[in-house]
């Protein structure tokens, strides 16, 4: 990440820490992406950050510090969610960026693409009930030693919507153990009062896992959509804290 561009206008009352960093965000648009504009709106309007659109056929990340893979149905989700998008030209650049330690976050379909690309462990299978599911769910942060969760409260259940047909996190036992041992679980599904139990696991994910990071802790993937919970007009701003975390400076 580049040395932070300091931003003048970003002293936010609700924030415990003022934004130390400003970042240039790149939102990748695949054919079939449909949450790209929602993420751009939050980053540029709510968070006042510089955002550029990165077209899937491009080979240039335009100097972005942070790459967002938005939700949607890249290539119609045909074959397997994320399977075709993973080979697009821009993804080759994103993979190199991540391997250099650059920040990448995938939401929903973006998470699926990151697992297909091997940047995150595991896979996202069809929901246990074999149906698309769109509703508010609750997730509990499992670690704050991460850029994406550093401002979150690990005792709080955050109300964030899901909208997916293939979101059941799965991996083999060895990988799961590694993820757990390395503190790579970002979020687990829980009840409205924070209880993590199988009945609150909306899609049958292994160990209630809703989001993970990689070993390098620079790549993040989550099925719930924080960008859908970041606008007071919609009556839910629980997701905003995740975007605020991204801008709260690097971890000490």
């Amino acid at each position: 990440m580049k040395k932070g561009r300091k931003s003048a206008k970003q002293n936010h009352e609700t924030l415990k820490i003022s934004y130390l960093w400003a970042m240039k965000f790149g939102v990748v648009i695949f054919p079939g992406s449909n949450c790209d504009q929602d993420v751009i709106d939050v980053l540029s309007k709510t968070m006042n950050q510089e955002v550029v659109k990165l077209w899937h056929k491009d080979h240039d990340l335009q100097g972005c510090d942070f790459i967002m893979l938005p939700g949607g149905f890249s290539y119609g989700d045909y074959l397997r969610s994320g399977a075709i998008a993973r080979f697009s030209p821009i993804m080759q650049e994103v993979i190199q960026h991540a391997n250099r330690g650059g920040y990448v976050m995938g939401i929903c379909n973006g998470f699926q693409i990151l697992t297909e690309a091997g940047l995150l462990p595991g896979a996202l299978l069809r929901n246990q009930e074999q149906k698309f599911l769109c509703k508010n769910v609750y997730v509990k942060p499992q670690t704050t030693s991460l850029l994406a969760t550093q401002l979150l409260d690990t005792n709080k259940a955050y109300k964030i919507p899901v909208a997916h047909g293939e979101g059941r996190f799965y991996t083999d036992a060895d990988t799961l153990k590694k993820i757990q041992d390395n503190d790579q679980v970002m979020f687990r599904y829980c009840s409205h009062d924070g209880i993590i139990a199988p009945e609150f696991d909306c899609n049958g994910s292994l160990d209630n896992i809703a989001g993970i990071t990689n070993e390098g802790r620079n790549v993040f993937g989550m099925m719930p959509h924080p960008e859908r919970a970041a606008d007071a007009d919609l009556g839910n701003t629980d997701g905003k804290a995740i975007f605020e975390s991204l801008l709260a400076g690097v971890l000490a």
Partner: protein, 742 residues
Amino acid sequence: MEQTLTTVETAKQLGLLEEEFEKIKSILGRTPNFTELSIFSVMWSEHCSYKNSIVWLKKLPKDSPRMLAKAGEENAGLVDIGDGLACSFKIESHNHPSAIEPYQGAATGVGGINRDIFTMGARPIAQLNSLRFGDITKDKTKGLLKGVVKGIGDYGNAFGIPTVGGELFFDPSYNINPLVNAFSAGIVESGKTVSATSYGVGNPVFIVGSATGKDGIHGAAFASKDITEDSANDLPSVQVGDPFQEKLLLEATLDVIESGCVIGMQDMGAAGITCSTSEMSAKGEHGMEIWLDKVPTRQPNMKPFEILLSESQERMLIVVKKGEEATIKKICDKWDLYCEQIGVVNDSKRLTYFQNGELVADVPADDLVLGGGAPVYHREYREPAYFQETKKFKIDSVSEPKSLEEFKKIAEHLVSHPNICSRRWVSEQYDSMVGTATMTTNMPSDAAIVKIKGTNKAIAIKVDCNSRYVNADPEEGTAIAVAEAARNIVCSGGEPLAITNCLNFGNPYVPEVYWHFVGAIKGMKKACEKFETPVTGGNVSFYNQSSDEGPVFPTPTIGMLGLLEDKSNAMTLAFQKAGDLIYLVGEAQNDINSSEYLYSYQKVALSPAPHFDLEEEYKVQNTIKELIKSKAITSAHDVSDGGLYIALLEAAMPKHLGFSIKTNSDFRKDAYLFGESQSRVVVSVKAEQKAAFEEMLKSKNTGFTLLGEVTSGVCEIDGETWHQTSDMKHVYDNALGEIMAN
């Protein structure tokens, strides 16, 4: 040109009448060849020409200062919403395809309605659907419902436009013929809209999107003389939708419009290239020369009539300015879409179709279209015998329930009834939040509210029709459908602006069915005039038959658009706090007519439509508007299916609250609680605003009753505890899922 001339027998096989064949001959001044005859047959079909309905549709109100496009003139209605913006919206049926293959039928219905919106240059921002199925306990119905919901979900979710609401109704009259009506609304900057027109000699005509296959051409194919067993096997029996392609087509279309090169465009729906070329040419008073061999095809060796009539999905016909060929090709290349020039505009006012240099059809554009040469018929109509039967019903024939136990049983029956219980099993399969503009996710409301980003406004949208009421009395029932849609928009904080309609009826050649249709138009007309909500367009679907060969319930679905100038006026249906006062605005009636209670609990099939007075309704709605604007109330929920009791429960459940109310001994208790008389709204008021609220209602001369107050979780009536809200909520939330799982 093809020399094999046609006969009246072929015309009949194509669904044309003998007199229509004669008319075609006189238009052309000669006998048509097969390709030409098939062109006329599809353009003069009910679907394209509205020949059996247009006489009556013309009676509907069409004008208001906000109308930017008149009904039927464009692909969808266009309403000025201020700030230089317009809303384009429409509803359309896909009933018959959904009866054959529910998944693809419903999916392609969603695709079609969205193309109608973005072909005008508007980006869709929200969708609704209105679904009707037969007896839910039948396996066949469950299969249809599962398929339709998955089809709508898979298409709409991937397309990326939220499905924010809808309606779902079960009745055995829909056992073999479900109704699938899809609604979409989009936003466009005024002045950036595109018309379905074509003009300018020499301008190129492009086809954009999917390749053309032999989709939807059964009728014509079987009438063509040279059909063989092989070619019959080649005919797809269903059309497959591709939401991914539709998403690309949306983005490419809006990019092409933005580039400024477009003269006109129209999506390809029924009658495919034939319909788009003829309607655009007729509107622009020009002609076209079309080269069918340039059309990208999915199947080899397609005949001219097959290419012309194909209804393959996700295609657009676009006329651009001469010299801009590279512009449109570059944009389509970016989005990986086919884009081929297939013809050129001329001033002949005729459509000449060529294949490999040979002229295969030559027809005048204007004679093909509605308002031009297409036939117009007055159909006979007659009051059906059952109508007088409905009027004989008297409330006294139903004995009044007396015991608490029986009342509780009725409440439990209604709360778990598939026509009343939560639609969660359906709605959670739709992405209702993509676009981050759905305000009613966390604030449930009588209409769906979607904010218009970058402005202070929001739209409120609603689909509505209680077809049991319409069957009981087509005129009053349809007026109620309009009134209830308007009431829902008003309760959500919006101002009703305009409607679109989807008129689902049986066979129009049956006079008793046509009587339904005529009554529905009359009722719609008077209600739309009262609420100043003109009809911007829609669609007519005839030939919806029930298993006894009779018609389905007459179902004129109303899709209404409302506007919140200030989105902070959005009103929830949910009670906010224990201790708030609960009022009924509007008058109670001793009426259980056509209620779910009377129909499914008391098992009385025929009764009149519920009590309804248009003037009273108008007054109640205006009062609710004032109450919301002056912040005098904390919730508003209209009394509809299931009556007052269900309205109270629905208001209590979202925040896990309850209610304690008193009934009025001037009315039968079952009528008071479960009757569905119209023009009533349940509102909640903070205790400290009691005086101001009552003063306001008195000044408005609107009837009201203090029912009681919001409790922290118990449902109490006349001092007796009926239920805990949490228990009823559990039943309400899970009833449909449990039926579907069994």
